[in-house]
Amino acid sequence: MSPRTARFVLVATIAALVAFGALNLQMRTDITRFLPSAEAVELGAISRLLTESELARTLVITVAGETPRSSVAAAAALARELEAHPAVREVRRGLDADLPRQVYELYFPRRHGLLSAEPEREIPELTGDEALAARAERLRAELSLPSSTLRKRVLPEDPLGAFERVLERFRSGAGALRPLDGGLVSEDGFAVLFVRTHEVPFNVSVQAPFLEDLSAAVARISEARGEPLRLERSGVSLFAVAAEEAVRGDVVAIASLSVLGVSALFLVAFGSIGAFGMAMLPGIVGILLAIDVALALRGEIDGLTLAFGTSLIGVAIDYPIHLLLHRGLAHGVDGVTTARRLRPSIGLGAATTMASFLGLGLTDFPGFREIALFSVVGIGGAVIVTLFLMPPLLGTRLVLPPRSAVLAERLGRAVGVLTRHPRALVALPLGALLVAATGMPRLQWNDDLQALTRFDPALRAEDTRVRERVARLESSRVVLALADSEQAALERNDAVYARLRPLLEDGSVEGIQSLHTLLWSEDLQRRNHAVLRSQPDLSDRVERAFTEAGFRAGAFAPFAAALESEPPPPPLARRDLLDSPLGELVEPLFFELGERRAAITYLRGGGDLESVRESMAGLPEVRVFEQRQFINEIYASFRGRTLRQIALGSLLVVAVLALRYRRVRPALAAFLPSVLTAATLLGGFAWFGIEVHLVHVVSLLMVMGMGVDYGIFLVDSADHRPSFEATLLSLAVACGTTSFVFGSLVVSSQEALRAMGMTTGLGVILSFVLAPAVFCVLSPSAEAGEAPSR
């Protein structure tokens, strides 16, 4: 292929890949694709819905002026400004003024169906003669109070107080806020606004400017009112913006370190920084190709897959560096000839890397299969560019500075010196083995995802204060009542409420938000009607008891008429509530998951949830769910499974190497450095008390891929001293590049990035040291004190 054709093909390929990707990019992060069981998949889907629920997407804003009244007035002014903001979908500052009437119209006609959560037990007690007499006496006394004006209106139709009970349940489910001047005020005098944005909280490009506008609006209102205002907020978007700011702050340091380091390295080795761009090209094309294949097959790409896949750059960059340095040090030999000579070893390196990722995909989990496919396609694409599109562009013009040849020769001599000192030679891998063997049994895993992030304590404290202020229930601690139908889910939810009541009464659980406060199952409502109507002579006994207590005869004829009405009023349904102002209260309490339904009860308090779990024993398809624990368990399972798949992949790598070399020593020389590096890293972490998590494991996969490549390149170039020396130099440059590109992450403020930087940086350096050492130990010429050969 001529250089011009190669250039055209490369540019056209990149343009096509970018265009296809840009037009079709749909990204979604779906952890359920990595979950081990159908039950876990269902819980994972609910976990996602809880994270994406309106409750979770709401930003709570609290504003305090000099008095509660001025707080509410300031909040009203702020609400007016926010309602006009393009990012805002809805602002809620108080109760709907029409809500009491709506509640009356919805619930009063259906009051008898909502009388008791245990109708068979409680209704006979409520309607016994003694109970009726006591109630009548009590009601007569209560009519002496100022509230008689309102109470006497419903009494003739509701002497048993069914509607009172409905309102009492509402009150018990209410938060810590009270209405004032059309707004809501907390006990400490902050006015409260609930704000929903159009975009999800994690869309930082929208949320960050919105939060700045919010602060500016409060400052303007404070100045206009001539009183200082305190603003405190709670919401996921605050943490998302803070995380992005922290990362952005890191970027400068990381980018500076990596750019300076890589530039210096390429200037030394190649005499040109442009060579770095060349070296990056195959990896970038590989990733673009992998993204487009994923989009073509599935229509979308998983965020986890993409994050995993970008680490391929660290592996893929080894191949073009190997080619560039061999080409540069082989005077008079063009790129195509060099590539043809290196094709077997680069091809084998890519094949083993693909085999290790293929091991990740030999599983039932769609998420792992997707990562495997992405990696295989990405590496394959990078290798094709390296071996077929780059070489024509190199020609014979790539000339390395004289110091490169000197460096290569010195590296070759250093290895030769090592070979003549077998004890020192063996000490390296043995020392690594010792660290691994003594450290790994002490390894500690940390699967708490929260350990990967670190937020400003002041931000956390503000969030906690606001949550406590509004008695906000966490979406992370819930009881789920699952079923195949809405009514079955509601029936199970009724049972959940009955089990939680004693825990509320004894303080084991501080508070709940349950659909049961607003809606009972149709079965429970019908049972209430049936039991009430079955009470013998109820209308007559009510008339008698109340007349004896001093009520006018015939006053409760409306109650008698309601009891005898046929048919009874239809049960209250979820649809009735969704169509009313109560709809927004109902929405976060019930999910539809395909054919399945889930009623959600949110918890506050409950300690370690053991008492809650015990109280739910025996209830079918009821789960006590703590989101943080569930996610951590998923990631622990993912981490464990990744380790197992890495082991499986390693077996495939050994098989590929055995097939290629057909002899034990070269296969081991290629394979052992990667395993030894991984084990030594883990042992070293254990020795230094570093807890290991998923990011370390993912980074290990990349390190092992590079380790095998180093071993293969050494084995395949051992027959020819100049090639061997060129390989040593290419390994040094590859190691240095990866150290600067990934290793510089170690200065990040984010634990996840630091872990990746430390694992990759140390791992690639260990690989660079151990690969020649292991090769020399296993090489037959090492015994003779000669230069290595295969």
């Binding site: 109760l95 002496s144 004006t149 005869a553």
Partner: protein, 194 residues
């Protein structure tokens, strides 16, 4: 009672309700601290308290947590009517009612009739009649739109009682602790006027 530092009064109330065959009576103590704090404690037939502290209205019945009525428009209207009356805020009274004032010639007493202006209040009350003397309001009669009526006899114990902050705090927080009711310990219960 304009300019008072505070009012402590006993009351005896009689309600004639269409629902009941006989009137129902209640007795209790009323505290008013201008401009807008009031505690109405009913001692019989039930021990309850209505506590008003500026914009906060709560009903205590000695059971579980007090019931917050701050957001109830009807409750707010009722309470504001009383506070306006007790602090003799003529301007605010005129906003809420059409007023007819009638001095009684034979003594220093007076009678006032108030007809609500607001639609919300008119749905519930047709008229409020007040009787008093130079010292204080003595009688409040409320005629409701459904024919029911409430007659409250007010027997001021002290028409210029300045409650201390400690007394006021105790009253607002624990209104049903009858043993600590300020100004009430040594007073015999007076009888309602004929």
């Amino acid at each position: 009672m304009a300019g008072t530092r505070g009012v402590v009064a006993r009351f005896h109330e009689v309600k004639e309700l269409g629902l009941l065959s006989e009137p129902v009576e209640s007795r209790g103590v009323l505290y008013f601290v201008p401009p807008d704090r009031m505690v109405r404690i009913t001692e019989s037939p039930l021990r309850t308290a209505l506590v008003v502290d500026a914009d906060q209205i709560a009903f205590h019945d000695g059971g579980t947590a007090p019931v917050d009525l701050s957001g109830e428009p009807t409750a707010r209207q009722f309470v504001e009517n009383f506070t306006v009356l007790f602090r003799a805020d003529v301007g605010a009274l005129r906003e809420r009612y059409e007023i007819r004032y009638e001095p009684v010639a034979r003594d220093a007493s007076w009678e006032m009739r108030l007809v609500p202006r607001s639609a919300l209040l008119k749905r519930v009350i047709t008229e409020v009649r007040l009787r008093g003397d130079t010292r204080a309001i003595r009688e409040i009669r409320i005629e409701e739109s459904d024919g029911d009526s409430t007659l409250t006899h007010v027997m001021p114990v002290d028409v210029d009682r300045a409650l201390t902050e400690a007394e006021l705090a105790a009253l607002l927080e624990a209104p049903l602790d009858l043993a600590t009711l300020p100004g009430m310990q040594d007073e015999p219960e007076p009888q309602p006027a004929p």
